[in-house]
Amino acid sequence: MKGDKNTVDCPVRDVAVDIAAPEGDEDTGGWGGLEFLPGHPLIWVLILSELVVFGAFLLVFSAVRIMDPAGFAADQLHLSPLAGGINTIILLTSGLCAVFAMRAVEHGKLLSCRVWLGATALLGLVFLIVKLLEYGAKIDAGITIDTSTFFTLYFLITGFHALHVVLGLGILCVVGIWPSRINIETGTAFWHMVDLIWVLVFPVIYLVR
């Protein structure tokens, strides 16, 4: 890898900065407040962006529903709250596994950490399979992204979320290969964010009527 040279000399410089700049109140490490959140600060830039994006999408969804409550209610009947509910529990469980992985790495148990990460990812995979079955059922019923505003937003929001699960799986693999504490913290932070978003998406799209 080309970047490796950088990886090697960066920590050295970082340490030097820590010593040289002990004035420390608001930005010891130079990441501003992001410093105080678990995981790499930049992942929090991503997490915050994502939360804002999904937050905006959910608010837009609710606002558009005001215009056409009957149409939304009719379309919503095509969704399966049960599948959504199962998926919620699957993600919650995978989040729990991620916490166990984090605990394992804290105690230096790498093997156990990887096993828990594997379980996390496996549940993520199950989530995606359930999701694909749902989409398949919609498409079989002739419902696509163009069918109505409800389904445009349904496919956009849940699809965008599902892609985050895919990205999350990739991140879990990467941090599983290099399971340093900071890496696991970063990876699981992203995974919990995906979990968190689903917990909000599910009721707004599937349940509220």
Partner: protein, 101 residues
């Protein structure tokens, strides 16, 4: 720099149990709904659903994402995020019911 302490296995499992139960309850609340019923019957389930969702979200934020270790301003920011969403959704429901009246 802060050392982030991960929650204990017990707490994590508790959080999981509460959140999962809440999910099942929320599902049940939806099936109980009667469309076109009394005002409160159309409004209350949404409030309950959103309260349950935000509680779950809050649990994840605090215990899984490790926010309970973070500064108050961060906690406040995320709380504000959740409040905005919950208020938005509940407000939309109120508007729908009012327009319908």
């Amino acid at each position: 720099m802060m050392e982030h302490k991960t929650v204990s296995a017990r707490t994590a499992t508790w959080v999981w149990g509460v959140a999962s139960t809440a999910t099942i309850l929320a599902l049940a609340a939806t099936f109980e709904q009667v469309p076109g019923g009394a005002l409160i019957a159309r409004f209350l389930p949404v409030v309950i659903i959103m309260a349950v969702a935000s509680t779950k979200a809050w649990l994840i934020l605090r215990f899984y994402l490790g926010l309970r270790n973070a500064q108050g301003s961060w906690t406040g920011l995320f709380a504000a995020f959740l409040i905005v969403i919950v208020v938005g959704v509940v407000f939309a429901q109120a508007a729908i019911i009012l327009i319908d009246q």
